[in-house]
């Protein structure tokens, strides 16, 4: 469903930004209040609830034993799936994932995969035959802008919280020992910062109102060492090279701040 933004709101938000202000009084490089809890779902092997402002996502990680892909027989599998629940916003509808949901899943997956958050090689049980598959399900329950940063932050928290039963091979069979739970092997804590371009300015962590009037969007994933591991541009307008570089340097500082929130 297309949402129509009244011109008057567009103009007032844009004018505010032009004068160095935002509708909620934040600085351009200031996040809304963030809360992050891990282990909120007992039945999930790993879980987290993240809130950035009013945006809220509940994330669960569930492992299953499966066969590895033919081209990577010694590597475990990580699958990220997002549900933009109709509960989360009046214009979200149930049914198969739409392009926004698929984009969110894929960008989150990219940041985590390319940031090597999970040591997937340690998830191999029998090479070529049995590996752990980690299903990361993101349930978006309240949508008030900037899903990307919330999705990655919550996902990393959920993965850090994940414990797997020890898998042994006894007489050629995989035996899962639920009395010995081992934490998921975590290498890194790659996180993401998203910027919206309104007028000629870049603002971090756009609220819904700001997303609705933004020209372009840029999400930047940064690893623990400060390297970039994922990026995604969105929106119909363009970004300049300077803007991209500026966004990256701010993202390095801001993701480091976000990292301190991880349990």
């Amino acid at each position: 469903m297309v949402r129509i933004v009244p011109e008057i709101i567009k103009e007032s938000v844009t004018n505010l930004v032009k004068n160095g202000e935002r509708t909620d009084g934040r600085a351009f490089d200031e996040y809304r209040e963030i809360s992050l809890e891990a282990g909120v779902i007992e039945k999930a092997e790993g879980s987290a609830r993240v809130k950035i402002g009013n945006t809220q996502i509940i994330i669960g990680a569930k492992p299953q034993i499966g066969t590895p892909f033919g081209d990577t027989p010694n590597v475990g599998v990580l699958m990220t799936n997002t549900e933009l629940l109709p509960m989360a916003a009046p214009n979200f509808e149930s049914g198969p994932p739409d392009e926004n949901s698929v984009e969110l899943s894929r960008v989150t997956d990219r940041c985590i995969r390319e940031g090597e958050v999970v040591d997937l090689e340690k998830l191999c049980i029998v090479p070529g035959e049995k590996v752990w598959m980690i299903f990361l399900d993101l349930h978006v329950v309240d949508y008030d802008g900037n899903l990307m940063d919330a999705a990655v932050l919550g996902s990393v928290a959920a993965l850090k919280n994940t414990k797997l039963p020890e898998a042994k091979i006894i007489d050629g069979e995989v035996v899962l020992d639920y009395d010995n739970l081992v934490p998921l092997p975590i290498n890194d804590t790659a996180l993401m910062s998203t910027f919206a371009k309104i007028g000629e300015e870049l603002i971090i962590d756009p609220s819904l109102e700001e997303e609705e009037v933004m020209g372009a969007r840029l999400s930047v994933g940064i690893t623990q060492d400060g390297n970039i591991c994922a990026m995604q541009k969105g929106g119909e307008k363009t970004l300049t090279q300077e803007e991209v570089l500026k966004a990256v340097s701010i993202a390095k500082i801001k993701t480091a701040e976000l990292r301190t929130l991880l349990p």
Binding site: Q56, L85, P86, D137, H139, Y143
Partner: protein, 243 residues
């Protein structure tokens, strides 16, 4: 072949209380209800009972885009029940399955009688029930939460529908079956009522009960509903003050 080792003792019934979690036969699991937990939704509620965690959200009354569902003289109430993939032990595949489609239908039918739909012709009231964690009795938890969300949305209602299950496990008729009691039990009777009049808006049953046992189960469930109803009211008062 995958072999699973676990120490969890799945059997119900200890010598002392007759129930695995030491509840009396007519005792509900610990619960809490909170109204107005989501920002965007017109009304919302969060409910925990035992190990169940359920969110409910209401949108509307709003325009109904599906013309074939439109009623010229009243609103339609549409309910969607969905389980999160991580809500159960073995990951549930996302999206609707036959079970959730059925529960969606009976949940909307359970809520419909309480709502003054005739005040909103040609529109829809959408109720979303999201099971975040499941531990037996999610449909009842969902319906109970949905009523609170409807009230939170300011939808005019005759009463707040409340749901609760009774059943039979380990040979005894008991209130509010846990997951283990449901799995190992002999019967499950989920009901929903409008507590002011006692009218039943939902009744299902599966398993095996004698007529007498069914009568006991129904009594237990109705009493359970009345207790939960007070918690619903408290949740609304908690949010809006004691008017």
């Amino acid at each position: 072949m995958i072999i699973i080792i676990t120490n969890t003792n799945l059997s119900t019934g200890t010598e002392t209380s007759g129930r695995a979690d030491n509840r009396a036969f007519d005792e509900l699991r610990k619960m809490k209800i909170e109204a107005g937990v989501l920002e965007r939704a017109d009304g919302s509620a969060y409910l925990e009972i035992g190990g169940n965690k359920v969110l409910a959200a209401v949108y509307g009354p709003r325009e109904l885009f599906v013309r074939r569902l439109m009623q010229p003289n009243k609103a339609v109430l549409r309910c969607k029940y969905n389980m999160a993939p991580f809500s159960v032990d073995d990951r549930k595949r996302p999206g609707p399955d036959r079970r959730s489609v059925e529960i969606s239908k009976i949940a909307s039918q359970a809520l419909t009688p309480a709502v003054f739909l005739e005040k909103f012709p040609r529109s829809t009231i959408d109720v979303f029930i999201e099971v975040i964690e499941a531990e037996g009795g999610t449909r009842c938890a969902g319906i109970t939460a949905a009523s609170v969300a409807l009230a939170d949305a300011g939808i005019p209602m005759r009463d707040m529908v409340v749901a609760c299950a009774a059943g039979k496990s380990d040979g005894k008729v008991i209130l509010d079956l846990s997951e283990v009691e449901d799995k190992e039990g002999q019967a499950d009777v989920p009901i929903a009522i409008m507590p002011r009049t006692g009218e039943i808006t939902l009744l299902q049953m599966d398993g095996n009960l004698t007529e007498e046992e069914f009568g006991q189960a129904l009594d237990l469930a109705i009493n359970g509903c009345k207790i939960i109803s007070e918690k619903q009211k408290a949740a609304i008062k908690n949010r809006y003050g004691d008017e």
